[in-house]
């Protein structure tokens, strides 16, 4: 086998320029795919991380029907204490769940005593929230008493930066929140501006924050209620199976009408970024298809030319007793070797490129987020499968010319001019 490889390499090097150009073309295709995968994968992972760790969480559980009407922040679709207890029970029993946090979502009027505007609020239990969204504090700027660990205390409010700027509200200022509860009664409370939060993309990216106990007072809840339970997993890669498990467990709970009491969604169903992520995946697949086409056409071209240029040689091989199978194997090995050399070069240059991109950091803006830093990387499994695909395509591309070579009649091939 080593000898066949040696002969194949020698045959490839017989036409150095052609082999090098073809190999270069395949190498560029592989390089393009590796760099695109690394950059787009890093962008996707970072954006998903921003969305799930900074405000949305990985999984959310609501009362059935809430998500379809979440734009109006319906207070009549909150979960009561019993419902929350049932959900907690399911979450406690699942070993893959790392943390969960209750939230109340509400809309309110924000006043600085001279101007009034509307605001969407996320009322949180700060201790639990930082466990579910560990990066939530990264987007916040706090006053003297605040911190990323503490986040927010009773009587405090954190306002989106654009809103604070527009309303000329500064850290430490007092503001008034006026909200209507589900029965239609209006209530108002004073809050101290404890922090400013950067706006991020997504449905919950422009919300302010208050303490969950303040929301209960503001909405005059007679019994504790919550809007949603945000869930974080120990391993994000286990999202799909854990989601399926939790969905199945929650489906056991029915409301008075005998229908499911809860609904559960992953971040994918809640964030519009999921569609962008899918577009990125689609582009990645397109790049791979282009690369496969490059490999297929270039190797097919080289191998066809190789067979036509070596007809007499094929006749000689056959005349001295080389079986059709071995002639075919020789040409397949040439195609395979060309693919192997190209994929090796592509991988080496691609990994070097990724290393350079990590040394010379790439910063970019996305939506209203500035100064985002990409950390491109590519997994070994992706490199492995990419290499396997290129090698398989290389062999497939060589199949027709190799078959043609193996079927040549020696007497005709020897007489070929």
């Amino acid at each position: 086998m080593i000898r066949i490889f040696k002969i194949a390499v020698r045959n490839l090097m017989r036409y150095k320029r052609r082999t090098l150009l073809t190999s270069l073309l395949i190498t560029l295709g592989v390089l393009m795919v590796i760099l695109f995968s690394a950059l787009s994968g890093s962008f996707k992972a970072m954006m998903i991380g921003q969305i799930t760790d900074a405000n949305l969480s990985q999984i959310q559980i609501h009362k059935k029907g809430y998500v379809s009407s979440m734009d109006s922040i319906p207070l009549n679709l909150n979960l009561d204490r019993k419902g929350y207890a049932k959900i907690e029970d399911v979450l406690k029993r699942h070993p893959a769940v790392d943390a969960w946090a209750p939230r109340i979502k509400l809309g309110a009027m924000l006043s600085n005593y001279s101007e009034t505007t509307n605001i969407r609020l996320n009322a949180i239990d700060p201790e639990k929230e930082v466990k579910v969204c560990p990066a939530v504090g990264d987007r916040m700027t706090f006053g003297k008493k605040g911190s990323r660990e503490k986040l927010i205390g009773p009587g405090e409010i954190i306002i989106p930066d654009k809103l604070a700027k527009g309303m000329k509200i500064r850290l430490g200022d007092t503001v008034v929140l006026v909200a209507t509860n589900k029965d239609g009664s209006v209530n108002g409370l004073n809050f101290t501006m404890a922090g400013i939060i950067e706006v991020v993309v997504g449905p919950q990216g422009k919300e302010g924050y208050i303490h969950i106990e303040d929301a209960r007072v503001l909405l005059r809840m007679e019994k504790p209620e919550i809007t949603e339970v945000a869930v974080r997993l120990k391993d994000f890669d286990m999202l799909e199976p854990v989601y399926a498990d939790l969905k199945s467990a929650l489906a056991d709970f029915k409301n008075k009408k005998g229908k499911p009491a809860f609904e559960i969604h992953t971040w994918e169903k809640l964030s519009p970024f999921y569609n962008i992520a899918r577009m990125i995946d689609l582009m990645s697949v397109s790049m791979k298809l282009i690369m496969v086409s490059i490999v297929l056409i270039s190797i097919l071209n080289v191998m066809i030319m190789s067979v036509y240029e070596r007809v007499r040689e094929i006749g000689t091989m056959s005349a001295i007793g080389t079986t059709p199978g071995k002639i075919m194997a020789l040409f397949l090995t040439e195609g395979f070797t060309l693919g192997l050399i190209s994929i090796a070069a592509g991988n080496i240059i691609g990994l070097s490129g990724i290393l350079l991109l990590n040394i010379y950091k790439i910063r970019f803006s996305f939506g209203k987020m500035d100064n985002l830093l990409l950390a491109p990387s590519v997994s070994l499994s992706e490199l492995f499968w990419l290499s396997v695909v290129v090698l398989i395509v290389s062999v497939l591309a060589s199949l027709q010319p190799a078959y043609k070579a193996s079927r040549m009649e020696p007497v005709d091939a020897l007489g070929h001019v």
Partner: protein, 237 residues
């Protein structure tokens, strides 16, 4: 004992709608360790008869038995296997693989056909290269060798698998007279050394005189067969 038995073979080539006869009802036998030449002008059927004996082509009629095996009924793969195990080939244009050295060209049949172990391969290759006087040039590629040297390597390649029969189609046509005589005498020596049957074709009167058996072909028929005792020839040289 006959190594090759040809029984009433004919070969026609189809040229458009016309059938062109290349060989007509040829019957002959060739003994083991013979040194045989087919001679005749161009188009007389020399190459065709060598191709038929060498299982590169099939006769239109008749039967060919080589080393006890009827070769005209073998399929493509069986023919290749038979060629690899019983036959050796020497070509007019040498047909060495240009990317391989002299050593590797000779080694090729052992790698691709015989699957011999590396140590045994080396021993066999060096033995035949030594026998044809090409041991010094073993690491040279064909483009670094003269015509005579290339044909010596081709002889070595044909002999390395220890075939019973070596077929050589106009092996000296691309060589000057002196080199051509040397190559034919080398083939003769190899016959003596390895007891291999050699059949070659030529239209050169000087070369044909080196053969022990001469079959003269004309228009696809054998018009004359002559046998010269080896000792007589040696004396004439």
């Amino acid at each position: 004992m006959a190594l090759v038995e040809i029984d009433n073979i004919s070969k026609n080539y189809q040229m458009g709608e016309v059938q062109v006869p290349a060989l007509k009802q040829i019957t002959l036998s060739i003994d083991e360790a013979a040194f045989v030449s087919f001679v005749g002008p161009s188009g007389s059927g020399k190459t065709t008869i060598l191709n038929l004996i060498g299982c590169l082509d099939k006769p239109t009629e008749g039967k060919i038995v080589v080393d006890g095996k009827q070769v005209n009924t073998l399929d493509r793969k069986q023919s290749a296997v038979f060629r690899g195990s019983v036959l050796g080939y020497i070509f007019q244009a040498f047909n060495l693989f240009p990317v391989l050295t002299a050593y590797e060209n000779v080694e090729y049949p052992l790698v691709m056909i015989k699957n011999e172990l590396a140590l045994k391969r080396k021993e066999q290759v060096l033995e035949v290269l030594e026998a044809v006087g090409m041991i010094e040039q073993k690491d040279k590629r064909p483009d670094q060798l003269s015509g005579g040297q290339k044909q010596r390597v081709a002889v070595a390649r044909a002999l390395v698998t220890r075939p019973k029969l070596v077929l050589a189609d106009e092996p000296t046509a691309n060589l000057d007279r002196k080199t051509a005589i040397n190559v034919i005498r080398l083939m003769h020596d190899m016959r003596d050394k390895f007891n291999t049957t050699f059949i070659f074709s030529t239209h050169d009167a000087g070369i044909m005189a080196e053969a022990e058996v001469i079959h003269t072909l004309e228009d696809g028929r054998i018009i004359q067969s002559k046998q010269y005792p080896s000792s007589v020839q040696e004396g004439e040289k």
